[in-house]
Amino acid sequence: MPDLKNIQNDYSAKLNNNLSLEEINQIKTELFGKNGLISSQFKNIGSIPETDRKKFASDLNQIKDELQNLITNKINEIESKKINEKLEKEKIDVTLPERSFVRGKIHPVSQTIDEISSIFSEIGFSVEEGPDIENEYNNFTALNTPDNHPARDMHDTFYLDENKEILLRTHTSPVQIRTMLKDKPPFKIIAPGRTYRSDSDQTHAPMFHQVEGLHIDKNINMGHLKGCLNYFIKEFFEVEKIKMRFRPSHFPFTEPSAEVDIGYEIKDGKIVIGDGDQWLEILGCGMVHPNVLKNVKVDPSKYQGYAFGIGIDRLAMLKYGINDLRAFFDCDYRWLNHFGFDPLDVPSNYRGLSR
């Protein structure tokens, strides 16, 4: 019996020393090897008087567990120390640059078109398209702007033939004509796209973008027009309140016609939409002229509705504080990077138009 106690005390003390892995293994063999001190005690169990045997076996097991635990812990301790020493040597400078990546960008006009489509989608408009090259009929005549009408002077037109029959569309309005000729009412479409006028200076580019809107149904009146645009402008500029003014104007293809101004002010050199006492013209609109409806075989006594045309580039400039229209098409790497959008920033209704 005293044997067990001694073994326990001796070896507990030994294992408390600073030992190498080899030394521990040596101890392990001394204790638990084939003829180890503990192993041989187990062989003795049979020779212990029956009265003491139970206690002896229980003590022996307890000592065995205790010493084994000590050994395992010791080994773990050494191993983790070793790993730590190794890791210490492997330390790298994580402030070095990561592997290279490139980031593409979406042009602000494309982003704005997506924003516009997203807003109008919510109130039931679908997107239509038309060709950039148009005939004179779709661009002018069908839109109640006959030849020799002074309103044609308001559009500086690029022509592709000497007879002036083929041209680059001066507005997106011919998409109205194409859409209405192709289908039957009701119509509820927007048509964003490239438009062209032979005009080039600081505020005019020979190519720019417009979005056309057309809503024709049985009882669509100017109140719907106002409501639609009010909704759109509020959503687009992501403001709670909008100051909007409808001014009578004239377009041959709408009657009555209006130009729409929004209120703004300049704060810290930046334009702020929604308040203020300055007015900024942003779009033209009106009730589709009965002559236009007749031209596309829609009965104006049954159907009526509104149309509008908005300058997309202008909207993008206002919303994103871009002050030079020409820069849109200059393709300057720095500009594209600065004003471009991450391709993952897809405007949508549920995520919001912008971050």
Partner: protein, 802 residues
Amino acid sequence: MKITFDWIKDHLDTKFKEDKLLEQLTNVGIEVEGVENLSAGLDLFKVAKILKTEKHPNADRLKVCDVDVGEKEIKKVVCGAPNAREGLITVYAPPGAIVPKSKVKLVVAKIRDVTSYGMLCSESELNLSDESDGITELSSKKYGKSIGKSYFSKLNSNLIDLSITPNRPDCLGMRGIARDLAASGFGKLKDLKEKKIKSNNNQSLKVKINKEKNQACSSFGSCLITNVKNTESPKWLKDKLVSIGQKPISAIVDITNYVMLDINRPLHAYDADKIEKGIVVRNSKSGEEFTALDNKNYKLDDGMCVISDSKGVLGLGGIIGGTRSGTEFDTKNILLESAYFEPRSIRSTSKKLNLDTDAKFRFERGIDPLSIEDGLNKAALLIKEICGGEISKIDIQRIEICKIKTIKFDTNLFEKITGFKISTKEILKILEDLGFKIKKEKNYFKLSAPTWRPDISQEIDIVEELVRITGYDKIKIIDPIKERTKSTLTKSQKLFHFLQRAIASKGYLEAITWSFTDSNYNDHFKDKNKEIKIVNPISSDLGVLRNSIFSNLIMYMNKNLDRGFKDLSIFEIGPIFTSSNPGEQNTVVCGLSAGKKSRLSWIEKERNVDVFDVKRDVVQTLVEAGYNSDRFFIDSETPNYYHPGKSGRLFLNRGKDQIAAYFGEIHPNILKKIDIKTESLMGFEIFVDNLKLPKKTLKDQKTKFQVSDYQKSERDFAFIVNKEIKAQDLINAVSSVDQKLISNIKVFDVYEGENIPENQKSIAISVTIQSSEKTLNDNDLENINNLIIKTVENKTGAKIRS
């Protein structure tokens, strides 16, 4: 159109102020473009007298003048005018004054070492006339006692610049604007009770309108004023013209201008003595010529409306008069013309001759045909008052009677269009104020449109008038309903947006460039397309529609490289044009990638951008868009702007029906020609319209989820093949062996050189073999192996490398 509130008040009684006027003009649809205070600073200009002149010590042509400006101190002014002389009364501008013509602010300046305090002004510098040969000469009788007083009388009305829409010729006259304002409740339109000519003399010059086809003149009114003395206009008239920025010329010209501006009635004054045997209004004959008042000679076509006499053309009716019969200061007898010309004819003639005049601008929009007499009365009486003489009776020749348009108007239409109601009483009041004649019928009103409103022809125009005058702010907002019955985008539109963002996500910056381009650049990239010329380009370097996006993109790429950026990728998605027919355009995604990858990296090896970079961008994008890359077929037939050996053409399937994309290196010759400096330039084009749209929606594309858990094994093979054999051929051969068992094929090495015979190469592939039914045993695998080797050898002539 320029107006002043004062002039408007000639026609309008109103208690409102100018700021309210601006608001109200906007409300009725007359856009205010700007407001300018013309008289600001003009009080600085003083009547002054030259006391002494001396030759400038350092300049032969300059004089140093002592000038009395009514102050204690005599001012020294250096002046170059030949007429600067002792005793002359003229106009003096002190330092600080802004010269009206040049808008230059005067300062005390040393002119050749002599200090000059201000300036003596010519009439031209003061915007009073074109006289610029010398300084203004004022009569000592009139101004002798005014030395030191302001030369300009005070203007209390600002110059208001309006933009008049082309449908409103009536608003090109003060009265028309006043009428709109009055109708909108801004005041009361004055009844002018204009005087009429009372004369016993007949108009003795015979006027005839030829009745011929397309005669553009339907009536021609005239009267003769004899024994006039043309003179300077009186102050009130000069002031009026100056107040809206016009230059007074002579009384007769000023009066015709005044009447035109006041009531939008263009007139023309002829020197009656220069007209030979009466006037004939007729169509011109091709080849006829005349010199117009702009001192240019015009050759006419057939059928232009001319005013002529027996000697030939006097002028173009409604557009411009001729020098032969123009009035001068010594003109004695005047024939005053007041006529009506067809807008269409005016427009086509002036367009053909490229002639733009104030009269043309008005006639092409439509002049009130019934204003002929009013204009003659008003102008002739003024001429008589200012220039003396005798007025004849008015003579009016007509070949057509002016028809009054009548419109049936159902008042219900107003609410139907505008969404709000106004009372019938209000409707009638507005229409009366605007000059409509109204007759009540059973269910509608019969309206006669005023003759000065050529824009009004149908019921909807009446609604427009009513809502415009009532105010657009009365229109109630009806909020839109959030309901979608049709999908917003079509499949092809969705694909467009997907490709746009997919390419951008590969590191390309999106550019938007013109649809037109420089034909020199286009030539490089037009391939087999025909050049599409713009007849009237904005400049010669934007003269053609682009046949490819590359032309613009490469130009801008070059500009960016010049800015010092070396490694960049840009793309554009947009139209290219194949002919000038509407619709013959294709949507293309076109990208360029220049320079290096991993330039100056501490961790990665730097290398040039290569063909397989752009190939990855194209293939990955197409795969992301839902196309199966296992079906792609690629060959090397590409347009001549690509490097012939380093470019590829991609089809979505082996049927090769439509080209999905090109990719590759841009031809080195082109880089040389356009002098672009970069280590490497790769490009691609994806033809969006050639991509077949997936029939299935995303939800149907997801098939049942099936995977095999049986063990897979990978086997490597190295084949020696002829150089022209493509990796694609090898892969196709392998996959044809057993599509069920062969789940993946990967090329992991391509080698030419030592140990490989000339004109041959080694291609190493790794093939993954897996069954969905069982674990393959050694025997199965051995069979497949042998089959793969046999098939590849048979199909491609390859030899397995041992």
